[in-house]
Subunit: 231 residues, 2 copies
Amino acid sequence: MPGAKQIDRKTRILDAAERAFAEYGFAGASLRHIVLEAQVNLATVYYYFESKEGLMAAVFERRFGPLRQEHLDLLARRKREAKGGVLSVEQIVETMLVPPLRLAGAASTKSHANMRLIGRMVTDPNPQTQELLRRQHERVRAAFLEELHRSLPDLPWPDLQWRFEFFWGAVAFILCNPGKIEKSTRGVCNPADPRLVLAQMKACFAAGFRAPAAAVNEVSFLLSANETVAV
Amino acid sequence: MPGAKQIDRKTRILDAAERAFAEYGFAGASLRHIVLEAQVNLATVYYYFESKEGLMAAVFERRFGPLRQEHLDLLARRKREAKGGVLSVEQIVETMLVPPLRLAGAASTKSHANMRLIGRMVTDPNPQTQELLRRQHERVRAAFLEELHRSLPDLPWPDLQWRFEFFWGAVAFILCNPGKIEKSTRGVCNPADPRLVLAQMKACFAAGFRAPAAAVNEVSFLLSANETVAV
DNA sequence: CAATCTATCAAACGTTCGTTTAGTTTTAAC
DNA sequence: GTTAAAACTAAACGAACGTTTGATAGATTG
């Protein structure tokens, strides 16, 4: 029987949709392009996923569900290994990074689509995309923030949250468009190499998290509009 | 005469387009929505800007042209003030941040649209958007990288480039969706306050840039796929 | 074998998209 | 006041969009 070893249609749609959403964003990816690549009929999408939005939710759940679980599992394991002691900032940074990087490496066959997917969805303007992602990440976020606070008890809470945002912003940016970064650094940085990304982020953000609290009142004068050219 | 003190149509289109692109991205923003808000006829867009892509290029040029100029000017001024000495990392970080933050503050009347515009465009999937932005930022990028290298001569070139990417990734992320960050931090972080953003980024990234070079070979074992659950 | 349910398909639905055209009004120059 | 260029518009273009419909096979069940 021909096509017996073919992947089933539902999976083919999810694969193609993942690539398309990662490449073009939610609004930019069209169902017709997705079904063409998945080699299924257009109506099949609606049979399995009800709508374009439902398709996106399924793409999310397939990737970010296990990702979230691995995040929580890995953190729990690290805490178990520490036997009640606090984890180092390096360990926490590594724990935050390894799951998404592993996820990216796992799908190496298909042009790092889900790597870009993570980055793209984090910055997608679509409100439903944002809401879906926020709910997915809420628990993981809280868990890591708590652990960072334990590791850096003297760092004020707002400073910690800011740096946490900076960190995920950098992660999203790197994952969002690896090709762009490789191009603009003229090949010096290769975001497709998880070992490199992990080592570089650990070095930069371990120091960043450990830095003394910010001094807000030093810097305001430069921001007033009476210098240089108004825009 | 009615409408005498009205802003001219070309500007109204640019304003509305800026808001729309910032809010929905290039693909998600429709010309019909833009002309409705700008209160002009649909064809007027084509009279002034030739196409949707041309409109986007004009929106870019209006904001990022002066921004680029202010970046270069401010850096030149700082170097002049230093009289041949090297700038501190803090000074460079501040110089990179002040122009976009000032730009964001300048348009406070209109819901920080151009603040979000910067962040949105940096992460927009559209290839033309990317190419436009890359060309705009090329010289600024080179200038700041050179100055950072002068300030941190012992940091290997790749490490410097990585951290430079992390930095702009964090900036883009913060600028991209201030409301989202304020929400997920439950009001602890307010990205609409330039003083806060500047102080926090300076504290985090001055330390990040100054950190010792990354040690790539320490960390590879965790990334191999034979642990925990494959996804 | 009839009945039923699942999976799949071609074709079309109505809408919205970016874009163009052909014509009208306004402005400015001589 | 005539003329020509610039500014603006209503209406439509074809294409692409997300979505629905009705029918057709194949498998499953009584």
